[in-house]
Amino acid sequence: MTVATVETDAEGFLVDPRQWTPELAEEIARENGVPELTPAHWLVVNFMRERFLETGTAPTIRSLGKESGVSVRELYQLFPKGPAKLAAKIAGIPKPHGCM
């Protein structure tokens, strides 16, 4: 499975989270300016994915910071610009919708 063969939306988020594979995650990361996924990246990506599959919604950056053990500041270092969005994209789950 490569990014070229899975269906993504206009912003590059996977349409079907079931098509996700760890290899795909690495490819999406590289395309989005994260050359290598370190154990810290994986911790966040796996946390995002598990939480989404469990609850149907992606965690916000604040709850990530409180629950994943990775502080908000570190999250920005791992996933520059928008950690919630970028980590969701790499985790193969839909773009987090801001609360209303």
């Binding site: 709850s63 610009k81 801001g98 609360c99 209303m100």
Partner: protein, 428 residues
């Protein structure tokens, strides 16, 4: 399965104990609705709050501009409750879901058959580095508290040149349109004072647009442009230097200010974290979005800002929820099936200055759309500025104390979102 009987015909056996935590918008509406539905032989109703000050929160937006006085939008909580409702003035220590008991900080224990969590959201300015340090309430303010709004009124009166920055730190916040309304009203206020040309206004948000929903976001962004307010998006404020006047994002961008109006981070009430299984990491209560029963326990319900349902934290939402929640509490006590009737309906007037406002109306499935909204006095225009909408917003304060809190319905404005009058459009 036997279909649920109409809730009106349900009878509750023996005297049930209903405990409602929070005597604000949601708690008061719920208590009054339940007291009308259940007589003293059916249920004892308790409301707990840590103080006796009920603030009409939409009025806080007007205080910084001298359009309202914080003391005049505050009334005693207990006076908004019908006869036959017991009011306890105490902090909540914790909730014990297994023992179905609420422990109050004053030592009392309240056992419940049904518990309603209506303790709203708590401001957490201390969670942003530097925000409550030097400059707090001198150069950096929030209008989300009566004290903050009053202090800001003084600062705005004296403000005649420089850079005014309106920032919301992160979602979720109460009344997500309020910071935009503040920016619009600030533009109007400074123009009226003749100093607008010497003041820059910037609206700085962590969202990728002016608002969360695409069609409304586009409409509100054009209003910002028309009013010459700079829009800075995807800015997650991580640090505030109140003395130096610099806001820094987590990714290292900076925004300078002479006056900062912030909407701080929000979390749930502190006791939620002290109550095992009740809340999430932010202290909000995971709640089923249609019945308003919590995920933690079938005898516990939540509404308003305290609940984590995916709609706005706003008074209108709470009002619509109260209608569904009160009905479901009665059903629960009678052992009947709950009614999944709440559709996420929200209805908000957005003040835009110059005695105009626009109206947005939406639910879980339908984003705010343009068109017309049916009311008893005629249609109001949606997503479009009008004087009539402004009058609607002003009328709301009277309706709040006299119609909504007592638990009555507004004619034609029900829990379910009306679809008639809305125009299907998509954001470009």
């Amino acid at each position: 399965m036997v279909a649920a009987p109409g809730a009106a015909s349900l009878r509750v056996m023996a005297v049930k104990q209903i405990v409602i935590l929070g005597g604000g918008t949601g708690g008061t509406m719920t208590a009054n609705r339940l007291r009308r539905r259940l007589d003293a032989g059916e249920a004892a109703i308790h409301v707990v709050d840590r103080d006796d000050r009920h603030v009409y929160q939409p009025g806080l937006l007007l205080v910084p501009f001298g359009l309202a006085d914080a003391r005049r939008i505050t009334r005693p909580r207990r006076r908004q409750l019908r006869r036959g409702i017991r009011f306890h003035e105490s902090e909540v220590a914790w909730v014990d879901l297994d023992a179905r008991t609420v422990a109050l900080a004053d030592g009392a224990r309240l056992r419940y058959d049904a518990l309603v969590v209506a303790t709203g959201a708590r401001l957490q300015p201390e969670e942003t580095d530097g925000l409550t340090g030097p400059g707090w309430n001198e150069r950096t303010f929030t209008f989300y508290t009566p004290e903050g709004a009053t202090a800001l009124a003084g600062a705005l009166r004296r403000f005649d040149r420089g850079r005014l920055v309106v920032n919301l730190v992160d979602m979720p916040i109460k009344c997500p349109v309020a910071p935009l309304e503040f920016a619009f009203l600030a533009d109007w206020y400074l123009r009226r004072r003749g100093v607008r040309r010497d003041v820059e206004i910037a609206y700085v948000t962590p969202l990728d647009g002016a608002f969360t929903q695409p069609v409304a976001s586009a409409a509100l962004a054009s209003l910002l442009t028309a009013k010459e307010i700079e829009l800075v998006t995807e800015f997650n404020a991580g640090e505030v230097d109140g003395a130096g006047g610099v806001l820094t994002s987590f990714d290292g961008r900076t925004v300078d200010f002479d006056l900062l109006v912030t909407v701080p981070l929000h979390g749930g009430a502190a006791y939620v974290a002290r109550s095992p299984r009740l809340g999430d990491a932010l202290g909000f209560v995971p709640t089923k979005r249609d019945t308003l029963q919590t995920l933690a326990d079938p005898s516990v319900f939540a509404l308003g800002d305290a609940a984590d349902v995916p709609t706005s934290k706003a008074g209108s939402v709470t009002h619509f929820e109260a209608e569904v929640l009160a009905d479901n509490v009665v059903r629960h006590l009678a052992g009947a099936t709950l009614d999944p009737a709440y559709d996420g309906h929200a209805n908000c007037f957005v003040e835009t200055g110059f005695r105009k406002a626009l109206l947005i109306d939406f639910n879980y499935a339908t984003e705010p759309l343009p068109g017309r909204f049916p009311t008893a006095v005629g249609p109001l225009s949606l997503l479009h500025e009008s004087y009539l909408n402004h009058l609607g917003k002003l009328a709301l304060q009277w309706a709040y104390w006299h119609v909504l809190l007592p638990g009555h319905d507004l004619p034609l404005v029900g829990a379910r979102m009306p679809t008639a009058g809305k125009k299907e459009v998509t954001a470009r």
